[in-house]
């Protein structure tokens, strides 16, 4: 945070829920001095046209991500495990949204 404060305000990731029942979706990021102001800035930047009913903000620094150098070992093994996909069941006619 000290480095951030020298450069300006810290960065926040913004999540907006479009309507009740849906999950919050990541919509972008912005700068703000603290969480309360980040929510207000997010309201102004990301919900000007009625995009949402709920906003979450998370300090970008709090996000833990996988190491891009380990992409092969992380994701490639999933590529040839067809049995993990639920494609071996007969889907009853009339069952929607599966």
């Amino acid at each position: 945070m000290n480095d951030d404060s020298k450069r300006g305000w810290p960065l926040w990731e913004v999540f907006v829920r479009a309507r009740r029942g849906l999950a919050h979706q990541h919509v972008g990021s912005l700068h703000a001095p603290d969480g309360a102001m980040a929510v207000r800035n997010a309201r102004d930047v990301y919900t000007r046209r009625g995009e949402g009913v709920s906003i979450w903000v998370v300090p970008s620094a709090a996000i833990v991500a996988n190491n891009p150098d380990e992409k092969d070992s992380f994701f490639d093994p999933a590529a040839d495990k067809v049995y993990r996909h639920p494609t071996f069941y007969d889907v009853p006619e009339g069952a929607k949204h599966l």
Partner: protein, 250 residues
């Protein structure tokens, strides 16, 4: 052109409230591309656009009540400064960010009480506008409050500049509550808005560790068309395009 002094009280009232919103919208627009961060550019522009929307309703209504065929554009662009009825608070220059936030706190807290009172106005246009505007203004007030708290109760430097901003705008606060033409049941009595406004201001300033200034002079006359030198410059910029190209549309 008809002078505002001859307007019906209801038209004059709508014009006064509309001019407050219009002139402050223009002032806040000056912050775009100059605010401390781009996020604040957007916040101030949103607030300015809310105010512009209120001004459009109020000026259109003033023209309609007047019945002389003037629409919102005629009223916004074809009047000279002596025909504007806004309080001087909204026309003074933006100053630094703290001055603007001090003015936003004072004005949005006033507008919040104003529109809350107008919710029960016997005039359906004013009551309808108030229903929409009170939600907008609640956000404007919150935005200003957040900044006054952070700057006032921040560093020594930010505290000093926040207090200086308050000192600069306070001589213009009394004018908001000066007696106006009585329109019982329709208009809000300005003096009656003051106690709730004062309670809110006292609470915010106390939490912000700032004190309410006690200026030795106060502004007067905005509602009668008497303005500071600054309004003419603002109007020159705001009205230039319309006056150079009358009736232009795009």
């Amino acid at each position: 052109m008809t002078g505002v002094r001859t307007l019906l009280p209801l038209a004059a009232y709508a014009l006064a409230l509309g001019d407050d919103a219009l002139i402050l919208a223009q002032r806040l627009g000056e912050w775009v591309a100059r605010a401390p961060q781009i996020e604040e550019d957007v916040a101030l522009a949103n607030i300015a656009l809310d105010l512009l929307g209120q001004a459009r309703t109020l000026l259109s209504y003033a023209g309609e009540v007047e019945g002389a065929g003037r629409d919102e554009d005629d009223l916004a662009y074809q009047r000279d400064d002596r025909d504007f009825r806004n309080v001087q608070l909204v026309e003074i220059p933006n100053g630094d960010f703290a001055v603007t936030m001090a003015r936003q706190l004072v004005f949005s807290a006033y507008q919040y009480e104003l529109y809350t009172a107008l919710l029960t106005s016997a005039d359906p246009t004013l009551a309808g506008l108030a229903g929409k505007a009170v939600k907008e203004v609640a956000y404007h007030r919150d935005h200003a409050t957040q900044w006054v708290l952070r700057l006032g109760d921040g560093t020594d430097l930010s505290h000093a500049r926040m207090q200086a901003g308050l000192d600069q705008v306070w001589p213009y606060t009394d004018e908001l509550f000066d007696p106006a033409d009585q329109l019982p049941g329709v208009a809000a009595d300005p003096a009656a808005l003051r106690p709730a406004w004062q309670r809110y201001i006292t609470e915010v300033l106390s939490e912000a560790t700032c004190h309410q200034p006690e200026p030795r002079w106060r502004s007067r006359g905005g509602r009668d068309g008497l303005h500071t030198e600054h309004l003419g410059h603002l109007l020159a910029e705001m009205q230039h395009l319309n006056r150079s190209h009358p009736g232009a549309t795009w």
